[in-house]
Amino acid sequence: MRKTALNAVHRQMGAKMVDFNGWDMPVEYPASIGGGIINEHMAVRTGVGIFDVSHMGDIRLAGPQALAAVQHISMNDASRLAIGQAQYSALLYPQGTFVDDVIVHRLGEEEYLLVINAGTREKDFNWVRDNTRQFDCAVENLSDDFTQIAIQGPKGVDTLQKLTDADLSAVKFYWITRGTVCGLKNILIARTGYTAEDGFEIYIPADEATSARAWNEILSAGKEFGIVPCGLGARNTLRLEGKLPLYGHEISDTINVWEAGLDRFCKMEKPEFIGRAALEKAKAEGVTRTLVGLEMVERGIARDGYKVLDSGGREIGYVTSGSPAPFLKKNIALAYVPLEFAAVGTTVKVEIRGQGVGAQVVPTPFYKRPKK
């Protein structure tokens, strides 16, 4: 099992650990230190929480043709990125389906950093390397170089500001800066996250002592804001409320961009990128299924993989992610259904232990953070 540099810290704090794609990761922390999925989730919605997300991977592309390489392998338009800006994007197969979703950061004039998922690290790196050979651009796997810590929630900015000389108020959402953090020089600070909340992700050296020191300093700095360490359990419920896709669930190698509803991150006006031709064809032919949000109207919790039925009990689709939503206090799910069942207000059923339980198509995202 692979471990992040903070593994011993999580265990010391009494976290419940699980195998996540071959990584030994905290799923939740004990109630005695303010943990538990519901508490952790609420801390991020109302205050601040921190997550060890060092299992995420990082790929650096640098060189005269770095932009051309990024444009070729990703669906969003990286030419629009200013230095210091980031964008949500995806790597696609020629069929228009997903290798992975990524955040593309433009670090310099000819330098980009792709942040990728833990479970797809090797696959992604090989994909990027193999599909950018024709470009004058170095591709480096930096996945093991960083401890990545996410500081998320409305009080994330106040927490991190206590530990850095960078002016965080000047960093807009999906922009990055560099600064001294916890005494560590030239640290990459990105105003990004996977919680549908304001927050930051910092990339610090991956040695255990430095990582543990930074983690503990952030916890101390956030104490006045009720900071809570958060595990993968809360990470999942937070991203689900915000309808942020998870690889292997809402997106995969058998689901295309249109079905996943990620149109606004896919720039067809770009002349060329892997997957573009197939997507053009798919668009012309029309999609037959789409991702919708469901809210349970009868008593029951939809879970990943459960069948979606029409009101007559016929199987029409499946749940990609389903869970109680701790902030919304509803049982919600994302599901693929045929287009004719996608309208808000449509009544469907979710099969739970052999029983059809009533649910309704609702607008998404389920949760949107309040504008300041």
């Binding site: 419940k16 799923v27 939740e28 109630a31 538990g36 999925i37 519901i38 359990g233 999942n236 419920t237 008593r299 029951g300 919790i301 879970r303 869970s323 109680p324 701790p326 232990r353």
Partner: protein, 129 residues
């Protein structure tokens, strides 16, 4: 948490507290701890027949779905209605939050279950794996 000695325990982490031919059934502190925040408890209807070792209901936490297994054979006489609206009571007080009461068909069945001390040992061994 110390396991009360006034009841028996199953290897599937339920407890059963008998008084004559009536018994209350719940889940153990270890079970609630493993599940995390409990948000849903699904129980059989009054009058349902339970068979020892067979599934009788479901408990769900935010993250997980877990089947409940009957520690003894019997007929359901009462279910704890509070758990429909306050399932978190199982986290707060697992050994006080009974899920249902049954009439035991064969009280002797309980002899085959674990004592508090043996259950504690069983849990420690499981954790060691």
């Amino acid at each position: 948490m110390a396991y009360p000695t006034d009841r028996k325990y199953s290897k599937s982490h339920e407890w059963i507290q008998a008084s004559g031919t009536t018994a209350a059934i719940g889940i153990t502190d270890h079970a609630q701890e493993a599940l995390g925040d409990i948000v849903f408890v699904e129980l059989p209807k009054v009058g349902a027949e339970l068979a020892a070792g067979k599934g009788f209901g479901t408990v769900e936490s935010v993250k997980a779905v877990s089947d409940l297994y009957a520690p003894a054979t019997g007929t359901v006489t009462e279910t704890n209605a509070d758990l429909a609206t306050s399932p978190e009571n199982v986290n707060k007080d697992p050994h006080g939050s009974w899920m249902m009461k049954i009439t035991l068909k064969n009280p002797g069945e309980l002899d085959a279950l674990l004592s508090a001390a043996d259950y504690e040992k069983f849990v420690a061994e499981e954790a060691g794996h």
